[in-house]
């Protein structure tokens, strides 16, 4: 039981890190960036090639490189594909995001082929840790730890720094934020940069935990993390964390005790039930504006 719980929290931590990207971009740009899951996959490939025989970079440098590439990729996607649609209907933006997702997947297919790659074990020198008799893999611990660090930094950033507060202002009212002197375009770029950098971290953690890497690697975790973001309340940073962890725990427990085939169906079933009773998610915004 304990081992399942910890593995669930660990998988959930990865979902939470991905969900942060969905939720922050949704909060600022009011759009669902369906290509987010595929940025994870790109991050995985960058780290894979950085650590492969030819390049032979150590794991931390490979992670750093993946973060840099994904950050640039995220900013570029926003500039080229989404920014021209800033005043378009949300349906047009959604279709563009889905198109961008396929574009990234097919580019990966073209560049790196369909054959799964075996992601190297980044923690081969570390041993599994005993915790009250449960054996916990190093990657599970690293995922949980990374998630906590990221949450703390993001919370401090959005509540204590000037740029972070401006980000919250932009997410509420772009026009009013502009009147304050806040550069809305820069803020949106920054949000995509942070979300995509986190996607790279999630991609490396995901590939370390489940070491098969292929062009569709990001799709299902992307959709589940999106579910986690909605579950926790889209637009809410703590919501992404809680939603992600709950989703991971439910998935692992369902897989262990009910049926591994049904696990995903159960996860989405729980989401539907939550949304029936709390349409804005667990921590969704419920303040009504006064007139």
């Amino acid at each position: 039981m304990l081992v399942h719980l910890i593995n669930g929290i660990s998988l959930g931590s990865i979902y939470a890190i991905i969900a942060l990207g969905y939720t922050m971009v949704y909060g600022i740009a009011k759009m669902l960036n369906f290509a987010h899951g595929d940025v994870i996959m790109i991050g995985g490939y960058v780290a894979f090639f950085a650590m492969s025989e030819g390049a032979g970079l150590p794991a931390p440098l490979a992670l750093l490189l993946a973060i840099i590439v994904c950050t640039i990729l995220g900013i570029t996607i926003e500039r080229l594909a989404y920014k021209p649609l800033r005043s378009a209907t949300s349906l047009a933006v959604l279709i563009t995001a889905i198109g961008m997702s396929y574009f990234l997947q097919n580019s990966a297919l073209l560049l790196w082929g369909a054959n799964p790659k075996a992601f190297p074990d980044m923690f081969k020198n570390a041993e599994a840790i005993e915790f009250f008799g449960a054996k916990i893999s190093p990657v599970a611990l690293v995922a949980i730890f990374a998630n906590i660090v990221i949450m703390v930094i993001l919370t401090l950033f959005t509540t204590r720094t000037k740029v972070g507060k401006a980000m919250r202002a932009v997410s509420e009212d772009k026009g009013a934020a502009t009147l304050m002197g806040i550069n809305v375009n820069f803020t949106i770029s920054l949000t995509f940069a942070i979300g995509s950098g986190l996607a790279a971290v999630a991609g490396v953690l995901l590939c370390s935990a489940y070491p098969t890497l292929m062009p569709t690697t990001g799709s299902l975790p992307g959709i589940k993390a999106f579910t986690a973001a909605v579950f926790g309340g889209i637009g809410s940073i703590p919501g992404a964390m809680i939603g992600g962890i709950l989703l991971g725990v439910i998935e692992i427990l369902a897989r262990a005790y009910i049926s591994s085939e049904l696990a995903d169906a159960i996860v989405f079933g729980v989401l539907i039930v939550v949304l029936i009773f709390r349409p804005t998610g667990l921590l969704g915004k419920q303040i009504h504006e006064k007139v």
Binding site: K165, A166, L179, K290
Partner: protein
Amino acid sequence: MKTVLKCENLHVYYGSIHAIKGVSFEVGEGEIVTLIGANGAGKSTTLNTVGGLLKPREGSIEFEGKSILGVAPHKVVSEGMALCPEGRRVFAQLSVKENLEMGAYTRPASEIPETLEMVYEHFPRLKERQGQMAGTLSGGEQQMLAMGRALMSKPRLMMLDEPSMGLAPILVDQIFEIIEALNKAGTTILLVEQNAQMALSIADRAYVLETGRIVNSGTGKDLLNDDSVKKAYLGG
């Protein structure tokens, strides 16, 4: 008297809707100037254009002798003017103090505490509520916050879009007193109002806007006694 704001022949469109059709007006240093007009006349459109949120298709806007048409929307406030928009538009999920800090976004952090004290002097209520989420303030408090937030940039020209909207008469009086006090302290005011009676009585000069055009102008006093203005905006 020095001219602070000079708009000439402004034309503004929303897609194919021609909302402002050749509007020209001036605001002199230290004045209170008001734009009055019915719903949909184009008052907010005019202020939002000056504030940088909308780009005119034709015409010129000069602030203190310098064209601001090429200035990026988010840099207009640094030129020295602030717009307190229609409907307050405070940041509901930010605290009162954070809202005020956003108002001073372009200013050095070291100057903020002093300006904050100045704003709290005008609006003591805001100081009591500084930690509260802006979305939970009453309508009147939100209006004070919106004005305080605009003041945080220390503007030389303050533009106010219907500050009295939806407020009880006693609060309306209070808001107008504050506007006059700000003006006495040296801030030039461009005021848009539905409440023409109040606006004209504190204004040095006024313009009447009708379906995107200026149809009348004069001193506040003249317009208060003007028959057509009386009939259309002052209830007979």
